[in-house]
């Protein structure tokens, strides 16, 4: 095999599939620095990273679902529903438990458990009932969205004021000057990258997304792995909600609106294939940061009308994918 390695000249060529998203991110950072000196300030960087955390944590889970050939449109409304549920439960147990960290622990457990269950429902409907993921999650998307509207009676569910003060540090606090959402996002991303690249589960996801029949004939437990991707995603939605609730202490029908599309967009910008078969978590992280930075830079300048925010995001998404396809073609 020594001849094979000497024959390769590919080292010189720029691999756009790898570099594309990173180049876009670097370009955005350079633009940001040029346009506003505060861009690199500690405060701004913390803000951008922390606000990326919700979508980011969800997008890491979405990477697995998409890599295994699935899709989940329900995550945005699932997040809203879980946030509403957690707030409701915390407010309900508050009188009997009399406040304190116990109430928050209950809220966190409810959020994680609800995420797990919601993910399992999606997963089992896809694998056991054999309904297309698009249809299943389109359905659950509508269900969770109206459930949260119903829970909130059309208005806003707000966490009890005293609890909010107690819970607040989970979003605003941190250690060594790094806020908790950023730390959690980083941990989720690193674990996600390891699971995707270095475990049997990650490899099985890619195999299933690449060719489900081959995976089945190779004795991979196709249904179990596919279900697990949705369960994992649901759990991560729960984690995102645990970070989200302390930020504003409320949830309403407009919570998490379009998060599913942002998460999917981040996954695709990062180089994961929409049809499945190949996924990379670090790319998703880059994708999430790209999307956040576009909004941040537009807010920091008057150069472009904010009406065009969506258009710029759209162009970046398409451009990122075009670059990757071109890079992958030869």
């Amino acid at each position: 095999m020594s001849t094979a390695t000497t024959n390769r000249t590919g080292g010189m060529k720029i691999d756009l599939t790898v570099l594309g998203p990173i180049l876009a991110l670097v370009a955005l950072i350079v633009i940001g620095i040029l346009l506003n000196p505060n861009f690199l300030s500690y405060g701004n960087i913390t803000n951008v990273l922390a606000r990326s955390a919700f979508i980011g944590i969800i997008a890491v889970g979405m990477t697995f679902v998409i890599t295994a050939g699935g899709l989940d449109l329900s995550v945005g409304s699932m997040a809203a529903f879980i946030a509403g549920l957690a707030i409701l439960v915390m407010n309900t147990v508050l009188p009997s438990m009399g406040g304190g960290y116990g109430v928050i622990a209950v809220g966190v457990l409810v959020a994680l458990a609800a995420g797990l269950v919601a993910g399992a429902v999606n997963g089992l409907l896809v694998t056991k009932a054999g309904i297309e993921a698009f249809i299943v999650t389109l359905g659950t998307m509508g269900i969770y969205r109206s459930l949260v509207t119903w829970l909130a009676d059309g208005g806003t569910l707000s966490l009890d004021f005293a609890m909010r003060e107690l819970y607040r540090p989970v979003y605003y606090g941190g250690i060594f000057g790094i806020s908790w959402p950023i730390i959690v996002f980083a941990i989720v991303a690193i674990l996600g990258e390891i699971v995707m690249r270095h475990t049997a589960f990650g490899r099985h996801c890619a195999a299933i997304g690449s060719n489900e029949t081959v995976a089945r004939y190779s004795t991979v437990a196709v249904k179990r792995v596919k279900t697990m991707t949705y369960v994992l995603l649901g759990l991560l939605v729960g984690v995102a909600v645990v970070m989200y609730v302390p930020r504003l202490g409320s949830a309403s029908a407009s919570t998490g609106l379009l998060w599913e599309l942002e998460a999917i967009a981040a996954v695709i910008i990062g180089g994961t294939m929409l049809k499945g078969g190949f996924g990379r978590v670090w790319g998703t992280v880059v994708g999430v940061l790209i999307l956040s930075l576009i909004g941040n830079i537009l807010n920091l300048t008057d150069m472009v009308s904010p009406y065009l925010n969506g258009a710029i995001q759209g162009i970046i998404i398409i451009l990122a994918v075009v670059l990757q396809r071109k890079g992958g073609a030869e």
Partner: protein
């Protein structure tokens, strides 16, 4: 006579690797020309250059003596050069008729003229003796029928040159005969036909001239009358190929697999099978007789009723992972659709079925690499690069990799479905030897094959299936072509002692 299509010292490189080295070739009007060679010899590449799918790195393509540069396959088609690929180029969800006229639909004044297209399709299919209705969806028809649709599609064009990459690989003997009839008709009409095949007897039957490729070079060419099957095989492999099959051995220890009264949907009905340790058991029958379905039901890829006992213990139905754990594995006939991930590397494919052994819980990349190195050695897998995509390997090397992958599960019982489909003769021989070696090591092997010599040459004992049922069992001297065919077509065996 000016050749209809010719190559003038054509070379072709993919990246740094040259796969064709200065090939000269000519194809004349009114001839059937066979292109043969081992897998990876460059046949497909050469055909794709002739049909405009690839462009030559060096040298010239000539049409009627004039050098041309095809911008695309459409360019070549406009000049009457049509190629039928090994992988079908059909839109699965469209009907037969829609596929045949795709891109060249006949229209009435405003709308599509379905009546006219259907009539024309029916006529084409009839000339191919294929009874598929023009309105059937392609996804619902069988593989040989799909091949016929491809051929009908080609015939429906004004073609001067027809190029076919292994057209008979998925056809039965009688279907191939029908195809040859059409090929002869085209030849009489003055068309030039080029095809590849690994079935040397076919080539003797239908071809006028033969070109032999080896490692990207033409090593022999001339009228077919100058060749024998043996000399063709020798030219392809570069050495004498005699005795394709190792000598028969006497198999048979204790029973390792025992299935009784297995039924699966409408494909398999009440089949009972016994398999002994160290035995090579053949399953014969025509395409569609239920052979693949039977073994898929046994191994757990398909629902079934009836009992299967593996080494004395009952095997649960529909649990292929459990079967693998207990040492019972299946190597699919559908290498590309169900066997290998074409977009992934050799390493990822090799370990896919037994990843748990390498993951503790992180995958041990070094152990994986070591397993690949061993597989490449043990199974003589010839890959230009270790980290290449499996889809870029030749068919023979894919098959060897698939075999290595299945064997990595350390099975006691292995089913090999069509072990040498679409594989050159040199690799075939390697695989036969391998199967024998495995059986000698105490493995029990079931071989399903549509190739009669293969079945007869390999198997110690043969079950023959017809219409979902096992119609007979043959052993020793009874395993003859005549007996297998009689059972496969639903007749009983003509035994001397029965008279």
């Amino acid at each position: 006579m000016t050749p209809a299509l010719a190559l003038d010292s054509v070379s072709k490189s993919f990246g740094p690797i040259e796969v064709l080295h200065g090939v000269d070739f000519d194809l004349r009007p009114g001839e059937v020309h066979a292109l043969i060679g081992e897998n990876g010899a460059g046949k497909s590449t050469m055909m794709k250059i002739l049909a405009g799918y690839l462009s030559a790195t060096d040298g010239a393509v000539r049409v009627d003596g004039e050098p041309v540069r095809f911008a695309s396959s459409d360019d070549a088609e406009a000049r009457g050069i049509v190629m039928i690929h090994q992988e079908f180029n059909l839109a699965e969800h469209l009907t037969v008729e829609e596929n045949i006229f795709l891109g060249r639909e006949m229209t009435g004044r405003f709308f599509l003229d379905h009546k006219k297209m259907q009539a024309k399709t029916a006529e084409l299919m009839q000339s191919l003796e294929c009874r598929v209705a023009p309105t059937r969806r392609v996804s619902s028809i069988s593989v040989p029928d799909k091949q016929m649709v491809e051929i009908a599609k080609a015939l429906s064009r004004n073609l001067r040159v027809l190029i076919m990459d292994e057209p008979t690989a998925v056809l039965t003997g009688s279907e191939a005969k029908v195809l040859f009839k059409q090929v002869r008709r085209l030849r009489e009409e003055g068309a030039a036909i080029l095809f590849t095949s690994h079935k040397l007897d076919e080539i003797m039957e239908i071809a006028d001239r033969v070109t032999v490729l080896r490692d990207g070079e033409v090593v022999a060419h001339g009228p077919v009358a100058d060749f024998t099957e043996d000399s063709m095989a020798a030219a392809m492999v570069g050495r004498e190929v005699s005795d394709l099959f190792p000598p028969k051995r006497k198999g048979g220890g204790e029973v390792v697999l025992e299935a009784s009264n297995v039924t699966s949907g409408r494909a398999v009905e009440g089949a009972s099978v016994t398999l002994r340790k160290g035995e090579i058991l053949g399953i014969g029958g025509l395409v569609g007789a239920g052979r693949t379905e039977l073994v898929e039901a046994l191994v757990g890829l398909r629902n079934r009723s009836g009992e299967v006992r593996l080494k004395g213990e009952t095997l649960p139905a529909g649990d292929v992972a459990e079967a693998r754990k207990r040492g019972f594995v299946y190597l699919t006939e559908d290498r590309k659709g169900a066997g290998l991930l074409l977009e992934k590397t050799l390493r990822e494919n090799l370990t896919l079925g037994v990843l748990h052994r390498f993951a503790k819980p992180l995958i041990d990349r070094k152990a994986e690499d070591a397993a690949l190195t061993k597989a490449i050695e043990d199974y003589d897998i010839r890959a230009p690069q270790r980290d290449m995509k499996v889809g870029n390997l030749s068919g023979g090397n894919q098959q060897k990799l698939l075999l290595a992958k299945v064997m990595l599960a350390d099975p006691d019982v292995v089913v090999i479905d069509e072990p040498t489909r679409g594989i050159d003769i040199g690799t075939k021989q390697q695989i036969y030897e391998l199967i024998h070696r495995l059986a000698g090591d105490g493995l029990s092997i079931i071989v399903i094959s549509s190739e009669m010599p293969e079945l007869i040459g390999l198997a110690d004992r043969v079950y023959v299936m017809h219409g979902g049922k096992i119609t007979g069992e043959l052993e020793g001297d009874e395993v003859t072509e005549q007996n297998v065919i009689r059972l496969a077509t639903g007749l009983s065996v003509a035994r001397e002692d029965a008279a």
